[in-house]
């Protein structure tokens, strides 16, 4: 039996375990926060020091942007169609039909466009980056870069983060546009709302600030996804199993981060 120090309260094991769990979770969270901060600082140094290859950035922009376009178009369209159908279903006869235009545009631009695009990129790009860099870690390719006097942050991390920040606003802009067009089509087909009425309703409650809000979200998500995925990839331990575990953790971490950041935007930018 363990001896207790004088004055210590005898705590039941579940409570002790709960505190231990909280302690472990806090330690892991702080480690990740520190690691992300350090990585961001190293990336900034690489950018300022002009050590990032433009060719690598363009290559990453192609992978993240052009190759993601089909899935972003589909997601954006469906977001607009679903919003339009749901909005039409909820509307009562006491409300003018053109309000549906405003509902679709505001929902797509403020919320659905940036968040769904970001979540799609978490799966398509974030998971890919973590798995790719994780595999490079476990096969000693990152060590090889360092042994050859090359900086893995400048070569691998910075191009991905720069590309994410540049590409996501473009993809979100496209998703917003296609979502509105698809929503307009759905409103016409399901609620019989004409294009003129839809656009009238859309303009009624439109603020230019809404587009800026949408694109600002995109920039922040575009920074978060590659930064977290690179950080997690470079922290991979173990073999193939380690890559799998880290990739799953990274996807969860990125998804939660996107949703938490999304919840922080209204009080910061809409009030």
């Amino acid at each position: 039996m363990k001896r207790q120090s004088p004055g210590a309260l005898p705590l039941p094991a579940p409570i002790v375990n709960w505190f231990a769990g909280v302690g472990r979770a806090s330690t892991v969270t702080l480690e990740h926060a520190g690691g992300l901060g350090l990585l961001a600082w190293q990336i900034l140094q690489a950018i300022v020091g002009l050590r990032v290859s433009l060719r690598s950035v363009l290559n990453q922009m192609y992978i993240m942007g052009i190759q993601s376009l089909p899935i972003v178009l589909v997601t954006g369209s469906l977001a607009g169609i679903v919003t339009s159908q749901q909005g039409g279903y909820q509307m009562t006869s006491a409300m003018p039909a053109y309000v549906l235009g405003s509902l679709v545009v505001e929902t797509v631009v403020l919320e659905m466009g940036p968040v769904l695009t970001a979540l799609v990129l978490v799966g398509r790009i974030g998971a890919r980056i973590t798995a790719e860099l994780g595999t490079m870690v476990v096969s000693e390719q990152i060590d090889a870069f360092e042994s050859l006097g090359r900086d893995p942050v400048a070569i691998l991390a910075a191009p991905r983060v720069i590309a994410g920040v540049l590409v996501l606003p473009l993809l979100v802009g496209i998703a917003d546009f296609i979502g509105i067009v698809a929503g307009m089509g759905a409103a016409y087909l399901t609620a019989g709302l004409g294009v003129d009425s839809f656009l009238y309703g859309a303009q009624l409650f439109w603020h230019s600030w809404d587009l800026l809000y949408s694109l600002t979200k995109a920039v922040v998500f575009g920074l978060a996804i590659p930064l977290i995925s690179v950080h997690m990839g470079l922290k991979t331990k173990g073999g193939a199993e380690g890559v799998g575990i880290t990739t799953t953790q990274a996807v969860m971490f990125m998804t939660l981060t996107i949703l938490i950041l999304d919840a922080m935007f209204p009080p910061l930018m809409l009030n």
Binding site: S139, E140, Q141, D143, A144, E146, S147, L148, G149
Partner: protein, 255 residues
Amino acid sequence: MIEYRNIHKAYDLPVLTGVSMRVEAGEMFALFGPSGTGKSVLLKTTIGLVIPDIGDVEVDGVSLYRGGKKALETVRNQVGYVFQNAALFDSLNVFDNVCMGIPEAELESLPRNEAAKRAWEALELVNLEPRDILERLPSELSGGMKKRVGIARAIVGRPEVLLWDEPTTGLDPINTAAVERLIKRLSHDLEVTSLLVTHDVEGGLTICDRVAMLDSGTLRFCGTPAEFRASPDPVVQAFVDRAAAEAALDMAAND
């Protein structure tokens, strides 16, 4: 010359505890030891891939952990590292992989045909036919070819020190013998200091001038191959006997 001074390294448990060792200039030196005794960790401290908790490493007079970033850069430029599984970059072809071995500043100022010539020569030195493989990706090479390309990448920068991390692991006996001959020939022809971490005790004893053995993170033995074989230390003897038995089993399995 490489000098390890009182190297301590611990992860969850201690891996290296006060290892001090010296590899003389131009020497071929093998480091043995059971798995998990910190051989590769010690090798990685030589170029800052693993930072020791305590201690310092000096490579040709440059103190790695007291000299700051500049010292690390200098050491990495004069050391070639051959990784256990070659660690070739998946997305680059053989030519680009080998060219990565040329120090960055030198590569930037080098005309492409000069870089190509250096890569070509390095591949020929490791007995590969450059014409056949320069454009190939690592995934299109056999295990033995990957190792050779990894060696070519390590020597193309004209290093003064070569570090070999289990270069024969995963190879069949014929390729193992060929790589061992290659290590000996390159170390001699290029006049470099070679430090070889290996499980292949017999091979290491045959090709190296001196050997050392790590056991549980400490230096158990350091001397010539003849002294190693004749060591009265029971731990060394047991290791030699086990290695001989494993080699005999490997031979039998391959026959």
